[in-house]
Symmetry: C2
Amino acid sequence: MSRPAVKPARRADAQHNAEKILEAAVTCLSRNPDASVSDIAHAAGVGRVTLYGHFPSRADLIEAALTRLLGQGDEVLERLDLAGDPREALRVLIESSWLLIAQASAVLEAAQAVLAPGRLHELHAKPEQRVGDLIGRGQAEGVFRRDLPASWLAGVMHHVIKGAATDVADGRLDRTDAPRFISETVLGACRPVDEERGPAGH
Amino acid sequence: MSRPAVKPARRADAQHNAEKILEAAVTCLSRNPDASVSDIAHAAGVGRVTLYGHFPSRADLIEAALTRLLGQGDEVLERLDLAGDPREALRVLIESSWLLIAQASAVLEAAQAVLAPGRLHELHAKPEQRVGDLIGRGQAEGVFRRDLPASWLAGVMHHVIKGAATDVADGRLDRTDAPRFISETVLGACRPVDEERGPAGH
């Protein structure tokens, strides 16, 4: 159902520019949630006029960047089989999407300053629900601890992912180690506490 | 060895103002690492001139606030017995100083923009070492996992503490739950991985 092919080369160019701008927005906003439209245009190698031609305001650009990231995350998650053992499912979820989650968190932080809370919630309710449901199922099946709420454990996953992304950016963590370190840590934090805890138990 | 007692009331006032300014600096910078000198003076209920009388620049103020926080943390840790079971020691360390650690992290973030890296390192090397040593001892004694580096596990403690502080600030976590949630999570993440891990093991 494509439109009549007027100036297809120009349309392809425009599409390519929009992609470049969105990628640059994610990169810049991950580093600094206050990154300006000029910073992002510069990083994308386009002028501000071109950028504004695609995204009329900084808020539009941030919303588009966040929507794109969450869409990519959704595609990744749709392809995963999260129905089996919740531990294996959580490991696969983390290792396949930690970087997208880290980027989405950073862009979400930028978005908090410019988008309405209702719109923000709408955008990230679905991925959040997916993680919360998985952890809740693990608790119900007895493979995840129940002495801490599922919402806290889901938050811990986000905190560890964001921290790891910062560690990678600051050169304290090798990017190739990150997925395993994160998943091992979060699975450890979710494991049920057994009796033999020694003097640390209470 | 006090100086001759000229204007003792005025000296006490000045001391009181300096304390108020440092407390306001910690509060403001925890919320926003870019908080300005005016924001901090306003929160302390003093004028900018008074503030600059105590701290000639924003960098001086940030360094003083960070030094004070780290000093308070040091006092708390000095009073703790960290020599026993590393799990119990880590729990006590976290529950007694999570809030100071969260505040110090936030002020450290502000400090990164204004202090020399060498000075920064000097300021927080000691508390960092203490946590790293404790986790290393736990690994050596076999009560903490050895498949992840001690430096990463110490980082996880910081990421979870910072995340919890944000959750408390945003109303997603009750402040009274925070110490137990954090310590349970970090101890869980540090526990050695046993054999019977089910399909999630590899």
